[in-house]
Each structure stands twice: as C-alpha cells, then as structure tokens.
C-alpha cells in the first residue's frame, strides 16, 4: 500500500511541532511530502504544481493568524483546498430541456461507459420514474450493442436496437426521432471507446454531439487512470463541450488522483462515481470524501452510507435497541453482524475504508475471511437456545458443534472466549458510551492513538 498523506504529514507535523510559526523552509518540507503523496495518488504533475503553489500561498497566510499547531493548520489547508479543487459542492444532472433530454457518454476504451449508461438509466427510472431510452452507437466492439441491450433490460429502461452495419450518426438520429415520437423523457447515447489521438473517432463523436445536441455530455474516466488522464481529458474537452464527469471503478484501492486532474482540466464537475459492476453501484460525488481518499484519510463516511444501504434497517434497529436497553448481545446477533459485514463486501472491503491511522495499525495484518466463515459455521451448528445462552455449552455440546461445523473443539472454545470479550466491550459501550470504551482501549494500548 502506498504511504498516505496522513502518514507522511504526521512525520512532517512532528518536525513542525514546537515551532511557533511556519517558515518558508519548513513549509517547503511539508509541501514536498504533500507533493509526493499527490503524485503517488496519480494526480497529474501540472495539477500538483498548481496545487502546491496555491497551498503555499494560503499556508503563509495561516502563519499570520498564528494558529495553535502549525502542522494542523497545514493539514487543514491541504484538505480544504483539495476539496475546493474537487468541485466544492455536489452536482446533479441537468436535464431541464425540452424532452427528450439527451445524455451523451464519451471516454476511453473500457472506462465504463456502457455500464454507467445503465446505472444512470436505472437511477432515472427507479428514483425519478422517468421514461428512459438507451441506444448504442458502438458499432465496433463485438457484442457492445448486446451488452447495452441487457443492461437496459436490467435497468428497466427502453432499448433502441442498432446494428454493427449501421453508421453511428444514423443510429443516433433514428434514436432521437424515436424518443421524440414515443415521449421518452431521456435518451442515453452510449458510444464506442476511443483514443484521444484517434482523429477519425474524435471527429465521429463531435458529429454525434452536433446531431444530438445533448443536455449532458459526460466524460467517463477510470479512477485507476494515471498521469495521462490530464492529456486525455484535455483532448476530449476540446472536442466536446463536456458538462460532467463520471468517475468509475472507485470500489478498488486506487487513490483516484485522476479525479483531480480531470476535474481541473475539464472544469466540469464529477457528477457520479461508479462503485460496483452492478447497476445500483452509482453514487453522487462528494468532493470532501474524494479529497480525503486522495490524501489517504480513509472513507468512513462512505462506509457508513454503504452500511445504511446494505444493512437491513429493521435488523439494525433491533440490534441497536438491544444495546441501548442493555439486553444481551448473543451469538445470534454476532452471526447477524457477520452476515451484514459480508453484505458490505467482507472485512477487506471495510478495511479499505478505514481512516489512515487504523489502516496503518492494520498494516501487515491479513484479513482472514476463512476464519469468519468458520465462525459462522460454528454458530450455525448451535441451536437457537445455545446461541442465546452460550453458558449452557458444556463439553458434549461443544463436541457436537465442532463436529457439525467441521472444526476442532478448541476453535469452538476460542470463539466463545472471543465472544465473551466482545460482550464485555458491548457492556462498556452501554455504560459509558464510546468515549469511555475508547479511553479504556487506550489504556490497554501502550503507544498508538
């Protein structure tokens, strides 16, 4: 894993501490770390340069104010400025035109145009009840049209058939006409992936744009893209009046510096982020979160949001009530937790979203999802009564459970021990709230935190 800015700056902050004011030279040190962190996050070099210059200027301003801790002030400036650069606010689709409002998708090969078309369609259909038509102008890639047809079906949108023998421009015109006569409110036009240096293909999409006069022209960019993002984005934004960006594959572990580059070059807001291959994997873009991600601050908010979606709300409420009423947290609840955690993509998915310091603490630790499965297996082999009252578990029952789950009795014992520990934690949480729990944890730990 790359070193996060939080980690980097924590070193710098140390060197800054004890100094009353920021001097040119120690800003320089800190900024060098910021620069390295941004480059490692794949932010394009020219964008990094601009950013550093800007932060430098502002940080010197902070000095005049004489903030308490110069290091904190710098971190604050960096995060804030990055957030500003990422767009400052959220941006929605603007489809307020005489229908059909056309959305034109453009981008490199494999960036996620077709999938994103389906995701946007699904969102418009499911959330806004719009009548949406999808059409593919990708007459080049094998089965590209079929892919969009299937995606449209999943999204609950209408599909305008096309064929590889047709010309993209003809397809687009026919689809637009069809959408008009059939009162579709939105027409989403998927296009073939193209290289920025492919003059003929860039001309093609320019013509498509001219014929369709889209309300939204979205540039689809892969979050894993490197420094070249800045060049590609420039060419696309020169060829097309882009109105927004879709940042895909953000569910990986890329830092997503391309987001910053593309935002900067196109001047257009990132309207959506793709966070899964499935059609519900589309989210609104939050500049503050993205800047935290680029800086390696983890993404706890996303985690919370994901939890809200993946978690069965009623179940969760019941559980929370149990905590609050002080009623026991039993093994069945534990199993539910494991299931919920699985729904959210497993421990490793959660790990990726933890803030830097926690992730740091975890470094080197390997997530053992198999252990989780075994734990689930053990609990599954218990009767409901045993789950609620683990204290009834004596040797013979343990042997039965171990046999049922295909594990050793020691493993069953270990689980019970762990569970007991956990119950203690839960109790602590009920009594003193998290702060107390955290404090006690802190007491148990020599250095960190």
């Amino acid at each position: 894993m790359l070193e996060s800015l939080t980690q980097r700056l924590s070193k710098v902050v140390k060197t800054l501490r004890g100094e009353a004011r920021l001097t040119e030279s120690n800003i320089q040190d800190a900024l060098r770390e910021v620069r390295v962190a941004l480059l490692e996050a794949d932010v394009a070099l020219p964008v990094v340069r601009d950013f550093i210059a800007r932060v430098k200027e502002l940080a010197v301003g902070e000095e005049v104010l004489g903030s308490l801790n110069p290091g904190q002030a710098l971190v604050g400036v960096v995060h804030r400025e990055l957030t500003v650069l990422m767009g400052g606010g959220e941006a929605a689709l603007d489809l307020a035109v005489v229908p059909p409002a056309v959305i034109l998708m453009a981008g490199l090969q494999g960036s996620g145009k077709t999938t994103s078309s389906g995701k946007i369609a699904r969102r418009l259909v499911a959330d806004q009840g719009k009548k949406v038509l999808l059409v593919s102008c990708d007459v080049y890639r094998p089965a590209a049209i079929e892919q969009l047809r299937l995606v449209a079906e999943q999204a609950g949108a209408d599909f305008f058939p096309s064929a590889p023998e047709q010309k993209p421009l003809d397809i687009a015109r026919a689809a637009l006409e069809f959408a008009r006569t059939h009162y579709h409110q939105v027409l989403i036009v998927d296009t073939a992936g193209r290289l920025a240096i492919d003059a003929a293909m860039m001309e093609e999409i320019r013509q498509l744009h001219a014929a369709l006069n889209p309300a939204e022209t979205l540039f689809v960019v892969d979050a894993m893209q490197g420094q070249d993002a800045v060049n590609v984005a420039r060419v696309f934004s020169e060829a097309l009046p882009l109105t927004g960006v879709v940042l895909t594959k953000l569910d990986g572990d890329s830092r997503g510096g391309a987001a910053l580059s593309v935002r900067q070059v196109t001047g257009q807001p990132i309207k959506f982020v793709g966070v899964s291959e499935k059609l519900d994997g589309l989210e609104t873009f939050h500049p503050d979160r993205m800047s935290a991600r680029i800086l390696g601050m983890g993404d706890v908010l996303s985690l919370v949001e994901e939890a809200r979606k993946a978690v069965d709300v009623d179940e969760a409420k019941k559980l929370a009530d149990k905590f609050k009423k002080g009623k026991g947290f039993d093994l069945e609840d534990f199993k539910q937790q494991i299931l919920q955690m699985k729904k959210m993509g497993g421990v490793s998915a959660l790990m990726d979203k933890l803030p830097a310091q926690m992730a740091q603490a975890a470094q080197g630790a390997q997530v053992d999802e198999g252990q989780l499965r075994r734990t689930e297996g053990i609990i599954n082999s218990m009767t409901m009564h045993e789950r609620a009252k683990p204290e009834v578990l004596k040797a013979s029952r343990k042997r039965r459970i171990a046999a049922g789950a295909g594990v050793s009795v020691q493993e069953v014992n270990r689980l019970l021990n762990q569970f007991e520990q956990m119950q203690k934690m839960m109790k602590m949480m009920q009594k003193g709230g998290m702060a107390k729990m955290m404090r006690s944890m802190k007491g148990m730990l020599p250095r960190a935190f």
Partner: protein
Amino acid sequence: MRKHRAWCARRACGWFSLAQCCRSVCCQPFAGILPASQYQALVYCILIEFSYLTRSIEQSDSAPMLGLFKSPSNDTSTSWFARLKTGLKNTGSRLGSLLVARKIDEALFEELESALLAADTGVAASAELLRKLRDRASRKKLVAAQELKAELHELLVEALAPLQTTMEFHGARPFVIMLAGVNGAGKTTSIGKIAHLIQAQGLSVMLAAGDTFRAAAREQLAAWGERNRVSVISQPGADAASVIFDAVQSARSKNIDVVIADTAGRLHTQSHLMEELKKIKRVIAKADPLAPHAIWLVLDANTGQNALSQFKAFNDALGLTGLILTKLDGTAKGGVLTAIAQAQAGAPQKQASISGGRAANAVVPVVFIGVGETMEDLRPFNANEFVSALLDQD
C-alpha cells in the same frame, strides 16, 4: 453536541482516526445520536480496531477478538512490496525535445525527473533512475544532453530486458492459458488476438467463456471465436470454473492444442472474487494437474500506480506466468512496467520459460503488448522498442 454531530457528518473533524473523533467529549452518547445502521457501522469499525489493539497487546499468536486477522506472517513479501512502491510510465515526447543540443546541468536533471513523473514513472522509481543517471553521468564524464538521454535509454532497457520473453505453446496438449485482470483491461479482446496468433502458428485453439458475470461477455467472446473460426465453449448459467473445466476436457477429446480461458474482470480488492479465481485455477488442475500452463494478467497501459497493487494481488492469488500490457496505441506509454520490473528485480534473475511447469520466483515476463482493437494488434514485448517509444525516439 449537536454541532459536533453535524461536524462528524461532514467529517470536518477529519476523522483521522475514529478513536480520535470519538474521544472528543461531544461524541459520547454516540449510540443515541446516530441512526441504528450508522451506529452499527461504527461498531464494526470499533470491533475491527479493537481486534488490532488486542493483537498488539497480547503479542501472542492466540486469535484476536474476532479472529478476523491472522497475525502478520513474517514473510518477505512486505519488504518486497515496499520496493514495489515505485512506478514508472509514459515517458512522453517531452524527453525527446528536452535533450536537443544542450549541456548537462542541474536544471536538466530536474526537467528529466519531471518528465519521468509526468509519464507515470512514480516518485520512487524516478528518483532511483535519476540517482543512477547522475552517477553514470559523473562517472562517464558526460557533457552533452544527448549523451544523457542515451544513458537513460540504457538504464531503462536494463530494467526492462528481464521481462522480455518468447512465447511457446508446447509442452502440453491442450496447453491451457487463463487470463485475469481488472474490469475493462482488455482480457476478452486479447484472447481474440492470441487465438489469431496461435492459429497463424498452425496450432488449433479453443476458447472458454469463463466470464459468466458481465452482460454479453459470452457474446463478445463468441464474436471473437467467429472471427477466428474457432469453437467457444460457453454454458449460460454455469459457473466459470466448470465452463473452463469442460472446455479443457472437450479440447482434450478433440485434440486441440491450446485452450484460452476468459475470466470476468474483477478488482483485486474484491477478496471473494479473488477466491473465485483461485478456485477456477484449482478446478482446471483437476482436468490436468499441470494446467493452467499459463496464467496471464492483463494490464491497461493507462493505469497509474494502481497497476502495482494489481500485479501484486493477482500474482499472490494465482502465481502469474505472464503479463499483457494493452492499449499501448494510445498516449499512455505504460512505463508502469518499469516499476513492475524493478519490483521483480529482487527475485532470482531467471528467464521464465512459459512452456511446461513454472519455476517459483521466476520473473513474470511480458508475453504480449496490445496495440489496437483488431485481431492483428498484438506484439511481442521488446524492451528496446518499448523504451524507444517511451522516450519518443524513432
């Protein structure tokens, strides 16, 4: 308190650590403040965190609280990966123009470093290259900028040469090749190209539609099969492993020389999908203990530093025998390969031979590069040519 609630929601307090945030007094009655599900998410965080804490206290190998984390194995992969933390890519036209009729000076070195960085070289790899370059420049007493460029070329070729290889498909029949990679990297398209190349060598090919997830993935591979006039084994509804297993069996009964298996794109962070890949590999081995004879990771040349994580994760999961670098016909030069080469440089310098079994610790070479979207757009990897393109020399 209400104020802090809003703060937390916006994460204005930074949340550098949840513990940090929650230690602040205002978070105290968290449970009451947050909706149940959010609360639950926080509980996860804490449980996870706590399991580390207990681990570090106990310092024993008894399982941490939730038993979710194996204690870090003291293997060498960490230090190996630390070295992996470099990157190299796209050395664009800038380098070419920089070096015309100029004397070597400090500014030139700095410009070179910037150019390397802008080309996705990565901070550490750029610094390393520059260090070596300075060293050689002074040792060889270079004066002209042009000489420096030649030196850089040489440095890069030295780094990349170990990745050069010649592909042979002998040693087993059917010779089973499995492709893997992140979403949209170019797996399916590469299969179409490889099938074409293999047929041109007079060998027979069969394709296995192992992507049972993505919409129209089967149809896409089928189209490539049609173009190449080779049969494609696919079964709607079946799981990837069994489709590929069947293909290997069928190829054997039909005396087919090579089987190429497609797999669904997956991000290397999706552990259950990585497990699925391992399972596919295991199941193929049931058809032939030495199969898959080749496991290739498809990398998109556009990818930045994340390519290194991809390489490491897929290699760890599958034991790669080769790489394919696609989309080199674009403006991205794929210099990330240099970082991957550097990362492997620690391993024994053993030219990997693809045919037959594979030796542990062999360097994972680049078996092909992709330079377009047609059947013919596949090339062997040549370090010298690659570096020339990287440095924009003709």
